[in-house]
């Protein structure tokens, strides 16, 4: 099967009066296949979020493009959005809606067939153990409960592609683990997953391939083994530092 995500020389340029033109994303290209978890690893401000936002059609690339599930992010943005589930670490919920209402709302907005809607919502409620608080307004839920609802909400329309932007930031260890376990399960369901993080252990645990990104540019792409071979370092932290210092080029 060909790639589900194909980013082709994506560029995002901002103008900053103080610093002049700023390249937030500088000619980024990568591919991601079904059943694969692709990691974007980089420090804060490296361009991870901007890249993912371009994939999710939230931002328009200054140049270059990306094709997701066969659809172009610029020309077929609506179809792209129907194919993706998007979750970032600081995503919130509508406080005055209940988890059930939230799930139904997003299923409908994503044009999930009405006939299968209740069945789908109920199965997610069971899967994420939301039953107990399915009818409680979201503002009354704990952080962990909210995060479960957020994940269920991101996948309610059963998208082929999942985009996670630092999804574990701000979560306690147990909730983070639930999320990571779920992401692994999605891989088993043959979803295509892009996952950005600056936590090395998460990248090590999950990612089939990792792109190390800094100052808008991809420094290297490969599996953990390939990156180890490339840099001669064992630990991801060291690999990361070596790449940053050498500024070496893509190998995959």
């Amino acid at each position: 099967m060909s790639s589900m995500i194909s980013a082709d020389t994506l560029v995002k340029r901002y103008h900053d009066p103080a610093r002049g033109d700023l390249l937030a994303v500088d000619h980024v290209s990568f591919e991601c296949r079904e059943g694969e978890i692709f990691g974007l690893l980089g420090p804060n401000g490296a361009g991870k979020t901007t890249t993912l936002r371009m994939l999710a059609t939230l931002l328009k690339p200054t140049s270059g493009t990306a094709v997701l599930n066969g659809y172009d992010v610029i020309r077929e943005s609506e179809k792209v959005r129907a194919s993706i589930g998007y979750l970032s670490g600081d995503t919130g919920l509508y406080g005055r809606l209940t988890p059930l209402e939230t799930l139904r709302y997003f299923a409908r907005l994503n044009h999930f067939p009405e006939s299968r809607l209740e069945e789908r919502v109920n199965s997610l409620v069971r899967e994420f153990e939301i039953e107990r608080f399915a009818d409680v307004r979201c503002e009354k839920l704990s952080t962990g409960m909210k995060q479960k609802v957020s994940i269920a909400r991101a996948v309610v329309h059963d998208p082929a592609i999942l985009i996670f932007d630092e999804p574990t930031s701000g979560l306690d260890i147990l909730v983070a683990d639930t999320l990571l376990t779920y992401i692994e399960r999605c891989r088993d369901l043959d979803k295509c997953i892009v996952f950005s993080t600056h936590v090395m252990s998460e990248a090590e645990r999950l990612c089939d391939r990792i792109a190390v990104i800094n100052e808008g540019r991809i420094l290297a792409v490969g599996s953990l083994e390939e990156l180890r071979r490339l840099t001669g370092e064992r630990y991801l932290e060291k690999i990361f530092r070596t790449l940053l210092e050498s500024g070496s080029r893509e190998i995959a």
Partner: protein
């Protein structure tokens, strides 16, 4: 945009809002409770006021009264009888609060009864109290006179009536209406429309960012336009609902008699047709204001920021409404085009039972147009990237747009100074006032800006030597522009009649030189040609060009600003037309001098026309004239454009 998605977002937002206590309060509880509360409040205040008044000694006067009546009034310790020359004037100056006018002498039995007039001013509550007391005295006096006559001659009642009293209210109708609650209804309605709409706009747009739900929403399949429209409909519904609830509640409570004061109610015609008209004019306004509120709320990253931004907007929106409710302002075809004020006035008319069809139609139409415009602006802003992510990535040209804004604001600031200072100076002495305004305020402001901003004069005022052809073009264009502007003015006055005072003011201008033509030409032609051009075409247009505004925008805005400086709504169109041509001249030639020459000739023609009867006043009628003007205009444009491209290639 898909109506299905709009519907999904709309239903969710409605459900969400209805669970918000603030929204319920602002949209439903407050509008319903406001009317009875107001009524209760105002009647309480009245009661307290009247209680105090009943203990007060009130000054009154009697004119030509018989000793008998005067003695009665003197005996009343709650009245102080005073002698005044003109009771009506004294009454409206509030020196007295009532007066009795009696025709002297009292006619005999069988003759017509003598008229007795009680003067009062309905807008003063003391006067109402005083008039009541006077009435009692007159009535008991009348009864006594009658009883005496019946006793002496035994005649029928009609024949023995000695006096017939009537009460006359000296307050004008406008003053009466001014005191009634009706004056405040439009303001209340506007407030009730904006209050819940701003709560909703804040929640639906800024709230989406504060709760960090916006990304999720925008990564759903629904397109942005559908999402924005769904939210928009919610805000509009809330605004309209609140207005409807208030009107329905007013109608209900006034019908069940919760209004304690008949007099208060009389000026408020809460009839069904009135309310329907009020609703009709409110709905486009609700959309317009909702769009503004949404546009503003969408720029805020949080509730707090949204509230900070929205409050001044709401106050600013209430101001034109409040100003329009001052006595003497009535709705006409011009006012009907002024947003917000037009609706307030239309509501006011409708509430007192007037339905002027054409102004009302204009109100609805113009409001619908404004609503459509702001709505598209709001939709396209929200569709843009910066609105989405809360942060606003600066785009190229942002800082230069700031330069354009700065120039516009500086122009408006100078306008204020001109308005407060220049107009006063001109009122004191027209000639010196005019010269000080031009050379001091306008040119002074232009130079001040250049000095403070350290812009070299050459750049600030486009002080470049023009090519001779450019000057020729300016000369050729002066007369055609003058006639075009006059034609537009004449056309405009078909729809908007120009008040006499404007012509009088123009005439006064022409008498400036005290008979000295050179002085007149200097004051009205040369001075404006230099000073106004330096400011509007030199400074303002120059800043716009610096800000890389497109030519049409730069010329239009500077021309409008120039039109505003003439401080008359009737003159904006012709003066802005002239300003646009001058602006175009400067834009093309990159030199201020053609525009200065053009302006001087334009005004000079007006002066000479007035002095020598040159046909500058009337429209050209002969085909030869028109052909000549068109030819001159064509040659002028040609001269400028050929010159313009040369200078551009050089520069």
């Amino acid at each position: 945009m898909k109506s299905r998605d709009v519907g999904i977002v709309f239903r969710k937002e409605l459900l969400d809002l209805l669970r918000d206590r603030r929204s319920i309060l602002a949209t439903i509880v407050f509008p319903i409770a406001l009317f009875p509360l107001l009524m209760f409040g105002s009647s309480r205040i009245r009661e307290v006021g009247e209680k105090n008044l009943s203990l007060e000694v009130l000054a009154v006067s009697v004119q030509d009264a018989t000793e008998e009546l005067e003695a009665r009034l003197q005996a009343d310790r709650s009245l102080a009888v005073r002698a005044v020359d003109d009771p009506r004037a004294a009454l409206s100056r509030r020196e007295i609060f009532g007066a009795v006018l009696v025709s002297d002498p009292i006619p005999g039995p069988g003759e017509d009864p003598a008229p007795v007039t009680i003067l009062m001013d309905d807008t003063a509550e003391r006067s109402e109290v005083a008039a009541d007391r006077l009435r009692e005295h007159v009535e008991s006096w009348q009864a006594e006179l009658q009883a005496a006559r019946i006793e002496s001659i035994g005649a029928a009642e009609g024949l023995v009536r000695a006096v017939e009293w009537e009460s006359v209210n000296i307050a004008s109708e406008a003053r009466m209406a001014g005191d009634s609650l009706g004056r405040f209804m439009p303001l209340l309605l506007l407030f009730l429309l904006m209050n819940p709409a701003s709560v909703a706009a804040t929640d639906l747009f800024s709230g989406e960012k504060e709760r960090k739900t916006i990304e999720t929403l925008l990564t759903s399949k629904a397109d942005r336009r559908s999402i924005v429209m769904g939210k928009f409909l919610t805000v509009i519904l809330v605004a309209v609902l609140s207005t409807l609830l208030f009107l329905a509640s007013s109608l209900f409570f006034s019908r069940v008699g919760a209004v304690p004061d008949d007099a208060l109610m009389a000026t408020l015609s809460l009839s069904v047709p009135s309310l329907l008209v009020v609703i009709l004019v409110s709905i486009p306004l609700a959309i317009f204001l909702s769009a503004i509120l949404v546009l503003v709320a969408a720029q805020a990253k949080s509730y707090k920021e949204a509230q900070t931004l929205l409050l001044p907007i709401m106050l600013a929106a209430l101001l034109p409404a409040a100003a329009s409710l001052l006595p003497g302002i009535r709705i006409d075809s011009i006012v009907a085009l002024v947003p917000i004020a037009n609706t307030a006035l239309a509501m006011r008319e409708a509430l007192v039972g007037n339905f002027p069809v054409i102004p009302l139609a204009l109100v609805v139409l113009s409001n619908a147009l404004y609503a459509g415009f702001v709505l598209t602006q709001a939709v396209s802003y929200i569709e843009s990237e910066e609105s989405i992510l809360g942060e606003r990535p600066p785009t190229p040209g942002d800082d230069s747009a700031g330069a354009a804004r700065e120039a516009t604001l500086y122009g408006l600031g100078t306008l204020l100074v001109f308005y407060y200072l220049g107009v006063r100076l001109q009122a004191a002495d027209l000639l010196s006032g005019l010269l000080v305004s031009l050379w001091g305020i306008i040119l002074g402001a232009a130079i001040l800006f250049a000095v403070v901003k350290k812009i070299p004069g050459r750049d600030a005022f486009a002080l470049r030597a023009p090519r001779p052809l450019a000057l020729a073009g300016a000369v050729l264009l002066a007369l055609p522009t003058l006639f075009a502007a006059h034609g537009l003015f004449a056309l405009q006055s078909l729809f908007v009649p120009v008040p006499e005072q404007l012509f009088e003011a123009m005439e006064k201008m022409m008498d400036l030189g005290n008979g000295s033509l050179p002085l007149l030409v200097f004051a009205i032609a040369i001075s404006p040609g230099i000073c106004e051009e330096a400011f509007f075409r030199g400074l303002v247009l120059g800043r716009y060009r610096e800000a890389r505004l497109p030519a049409w925008k730069a010329i239009l805005f500077s021309a409008l600003l120039f039109g505003l400086f003439h401080l008359s709504i009737y003159r904006i169109l012709p003066t802005a037309t002239m300003g646009a041509v001058a602006g175009w001249l400067t834009w093309r030639t990159r030199s201020i001098f053609p525009a200065m020459l053009f302006h001087t000739l334009y005004n000079g023609t007006l002066v000479l026309g007035d002095t020598y009867g040159f046909p500058g006043e009337s429209l050209p009628s002969s085909p030869l004239w028109i052909a000549g003007l068109v030819l001159a205009a064509g040659l002028g444009v040609l001269a400028i454009t050929s010159n313009g491209s040369e200078s551009r290639s050089r520069g």
